[in-house]
Point group: C2
Chain length 179, copies 2
């Protein structure tokens, strides 16, 4: 950040009076530009025990497999974000279920949420951000070609819970070394 | 948003190619300025059955009571945010427990999270954003003078769960009419 998005003057990074963290502050109109973590919301679309994964057509991790997930937009709920991302990335319609995981990723200032989802039909296809979309049973999940630690951990918990006979809610920090 | 925070040129609101929502896009350097929901994180600090509330010294809802809560900062976890807000607003030290609630507030593009907390000692006092801080048992919660619907709903669920003998995880949308 170099310029004030309000008035166009130069900003300076300093701790405003009464605050305790450096912020970008406009030297002209004095607007304080706060920067906050972003929310990534994903879905675990299931069809008769198999999970729908997308192979990424975009960076980062081009060509690797992921659950449908992306940045939450203004004026939507977390469940609406999960529904939208699943539609955008896999042209797939799901009934969104319970929140299944919340992972903190402080090193990249993100909070990742994953919802369970029930695929409504088999009419899915790659969205513009996907190379292919495919249903995998547990034995065939491409564990070595998953795009992110969040996806690996979500799927591990999911299959473990299924074996245990009850889906829980999973909360954890994912630190840089493990991503 | 009027100017590009990267280069200082004027921005224009339009749907970028391949996107489906209007974004502020710089006419000079072409930077797309995404805007995303913010996360508000709070804590339910408990001491021998009583809950620590703060009376707000800031707008909005100046003078009304709230749980310690505030905007999550970059490079922290949600639990660290709960700990920090409790320290800032009530000078109170807590052991952060399980995530207790997630409320979607799409009309203001916020996601609210509340953690259970165990107050570590009685050495608390108003922070700069609080007029007073006080422990309340259930019978004395100032229900009519609570600052936000999120706080009312969090406390209602908390006492209901306590009566039921088990704390759950609560997920809901809070819509404009109810705030």
């Amino acid at each position: 950040m170099n310029y004030c998005s309000n008035c166009g003057a130069a900003v300076r990074l300093h701790v405003p009076p009464g605050d305790n963290l450096p912020r970008y502050v406009c030297g002209a109109c004095q607007t304080i530009h706060y920067q906050n973590p972003k929310i990534v919301v994903g879905c675990i679309p299931e069809w008769e025990g198999r999970i729908l994964l997308c192979r990424r057509a975009i960076e980062p991790r081009y060509g690797l497999w992921t659950l449908p997930a992306g940045f939450m937009e203004n004026e939507e709920t977390t469940a609406q974000a999960a529904l939208r991302e699943t539609l955008e990335e896999a042209n797939a319609k799901v009934a969104i279920g319970d929140l299944f995981a919340l992972f903190n990723l402080p090193h990249i200032s993100q909070v990742y949420l994953a919802f369970r989802g029930r695929l409504l039909d088999l009419d899915f296809s790659p969205g513009t951000e996907s190379l292919e979309v495919e249903l995998f049973d547990e034995a065939h999940i491409p564990w070595e070609r998953l795009a992110f630690q969040t996806i690996r951990d979500t799927l591990r918990h999911y299959f473990a819970d299924r074996r245990a006979g009850a889906y829980g809610f999973h909360f954890a920090d994912i630190l840089p070394a493990s991503e």
